[in-house]
């Protein structure tokens, strides 16, 4: 049961949060985005078995969306990488 370091509230149990996955930058002008670029934005993620930057939402807390870097196999979180959105 991981402790997630919320930039606003400090480390809290992961049950207070919702994981937003790797996230992707929304194309600034979708009307000129190709089908491939758009579906990459929708679906394609690295999903590596190691360090990955992730977005988390403090659902049962301050409602802040923020980034952390987490190792998906050991669940170690690099808390000095956390920063608020964007």
């Amino acid at each position: 049961m991981m402790m997630i370091p919320c930039p606003h509230c400090g480390p809290r149990p992961d049950t207070e949060f919702r994981c937003g996955g790797e996230g992707a930058v929304r194309p600034s002008d979708p009307s000129v985005t190709s089908d491939i670029e758009w579906t990459d934005y929708l679906y394609r993620r690295r999903n590596s078995a190691g360090l990955e930057r992730e977005r988390w939402w403090h659902e049962f807390g301050c409602h802040m969306w923020f980034w952390i870097t987490r190792d998906r196999t050991t669940h170690e979180i690099n808390s000095d990488q956390q920063e608020a959105m964007p």
């Binding site: 049961m1 991981m2 979708p30 089908d35 579906t39 050991t74 959105m85 964007p86």
Partner: protein, 883 residues
Amino acid sequence: MSGFRLATGGRALDRSRPVNASVDGRPLHGFHGDTLASALLASGRTVVGRSFKYHRPRGIIGKGRDEPNALFDIGEGKARSPNVQATMIALAEQLVASSVNAWPSVDFDLGAINGWFARFLPAGFYYKTFLWPRWSLFEPFIRRMAGLGRLGSGEDPERYEVIHRQVDVLVIGAGVHGRSQARCAADEGRSVMLIDDRYPAEAADGVQCLFGTCAFAIHEDGYVLAIEKGRVQWRIRAGRIILATGLSERPLLFPGNDRPGVMLASSVSHHLDEYAVLPGKQILIATNGDQTDDLARQLFEAGHPAVAIVDQQRGEQIVKLCYGRNGITGVRVAAEGRTRHIACDSIAMSGGFTPNVQLLMQAGGKLSPRSSDGALEYGSLPSNIVVAIPPVKSDAAMRPNPVRREKQFVDFQNDVTVADIALAAREGFVSVEHLKRYTTLGMATDQGRTSNVNAIAVMASEIGKSPVDVGTTRYRPPLAPVPFGLLAPARRGLSLAPLRFLPAHEHQVDDGGLFEDFGSWYRPNCFPRAGESPSQAVLREAAMVRAACGVMDASPLGKIEIKGPDAAAFLDRIYLQTMSSLKPGRIRYGLMLNELGVVVDDGVVTRLDEDHFMVGTTSAGIARAMRDIEDWLQGDWPELDVLASNVTTSWGVVTLTGPTAREVLLRIGTDIDLDREAFPHLAYREGRVARWNARVSRVSFTGELSYEIAVPADNVADLWVAARAAGAEPFGLDALGTLRLEKGYLHVGSDTDAATLPGDLGFGAIATRKKVDFIGKRSLFLPDSLRADRFHLVGLEPLGDGVLPIGAQVVPDGPSASRMTSDGFVTSSMMSPALRRGVALALILGGQARLGEIVTLEDLGRRTKARIAPVCAFDVEGQALHV
């Protein structure tokens, strides 16, 4: 010869306090301080259980949690606890214990017939047998034979609790290493907790001690779950965890090593010290190293010296275990090419020691051999875990005993022998995960505590690898069995899924509401009157709304207040429809899409002012909507100057709907001008209703004149009373469903699925017309969104009487075949009192081009026909709305 108690000694006993318990209906005598196991041994009862598959008689072999055989169901009826280890339970006056897996008794068990067929029941036999004519014929019989103990009948009467604790240092294991670690940490001024699943005589000062407590799970960031005395769940968050869980002894592998009378050497030593009990008078020590020298000395000093020590390391192998009616009589030992017989009545065996690393492995740790001497080191630890277990030599010392391998037991609980492991290797199941699943070793209640390492060593010698290369299976919590009730202590009955109640709940109960859980909101289906069935009530209520005025507590609908200079621009980006063109005091219906273009919610947007909007969502969709709104505002569009606030439960809503709704509202009393020109359909007004400030919207989900009156939630109950007094009649969700269905109004999630696009619902033109980008727009122009053969929402008119079943599939005409292509299915269906026939919506392939077509529907083998029609079946012009 069987077990007996020495006249003196026994550190744990209080001989001045005798205890009487009952085992299988027979009395059992012992002393205060005895465990059930020590009392059984002392009384000479050698056979305490029957093994799972072969029903071989088994005796007590271990101590503490390392006991695979002596399992008992403790208690009776509801309070029956299955599969409790006799070594873990204190002998108590009212204790009632029943043997498991034996009938009629452990001493005479009919299941022993399985043992006669042992040759046909090796590991994995059920993959090759019971196949003809059908496995399903045998399955119930085999399932009944599975398992050991029996669960109590009825609901678990135990009341479980949860306690949370944060602590600097958690020490697991209160042996000599654990206690010293705990004392050191306490001396450094840290908060320390020490737990052990036994009851050690010595506690540690300055340290919180939890005994009779088993730490069964370890998670990230120092989170440990433990069960105390079978009923309290401890959730401990520790800064540092010290594992001092000690070592467990392994059985030695020789033919007949599972016979009653064979015990682990450390258990013989423990029972002698603590309970003054020995398993026999002529004990043979069988070992594979010098770890049993202490026991030999101990037995000598107790006046019952061992008859011999047989040491595999010196090349001595037991080749046969001789036993008679009264138990073991002796062994045949082979050494230096000769065999000889040694008489004995019991055996103390030792295959070496294994560190108890279950928690370490759960946390991702590893065991690897040290290069200097091959001893196993603990590595790959998370930074907050320290291991305080002495390193042990790896199992290079194992010399396989080549004789009668089908009688050398590795897993005592699941009857897995050395021969079974060799069979697995022959059949190609050499990976340790395959070995486990094919033979079922390590899958019983002890999770391989006494068997895993021996099994790995056997497989290693079978395939010519080192045990470290064979590896271990993945360790998962729980380490020992825990009751389900412990894991969800407060979540029983109504607390399992807590309900949310409407603000006017009590009044609706008084009005006779029949309630149901709708997405955790407790809402009335209908309000049956005396003598009325629910379905009659629904028809009456729907007809009443179309003729007079109904009242409903509509408070659960999502309400989000949006404010700021960029509010209008923001809403344009998140809705299919354009909201920035909405005038203040006006309302517009909108669809929310996700980025795939799929319709995920619908509702109305109300413009209160230039920069102030109310967004309405479905009651089920509010959580998702808030999450996404926060996501977009914080992440994608931080430049927008707008705030969003979820006010769903701050405002309650009472809906008045029906042709006489205006008269009812006037009777309740309001200062809002309700004239048709002053307050038209899809308009919004603020003012006083009864004695409260209210936000009133003319929005309709029934197709009749409707006023949705929003007041602060605390006032809803009184407003309900006022509405009832003014002549409005209550109606429930089933009637609402009928009314909206007659009008063809959408219910997202029922009439749409995870692929439904706006165009499938008839909103395709809006997407192409709206110039500004919005969430999901780009996806509406992907090839899959533009193809012609999509499922469209259409209405269905049944050709006969009756109501189409929801989920009925549109099938090709002609005889029913076992494989048919479906052209869609019925999504919603009710009996319509207004139309006096069934009314339905369906998602049908290419439906928008098939209006008027007659289709065949099949549901559970029965067929009906229906005509594809527009979604709105009643008052197509909407005349009732524009009054």
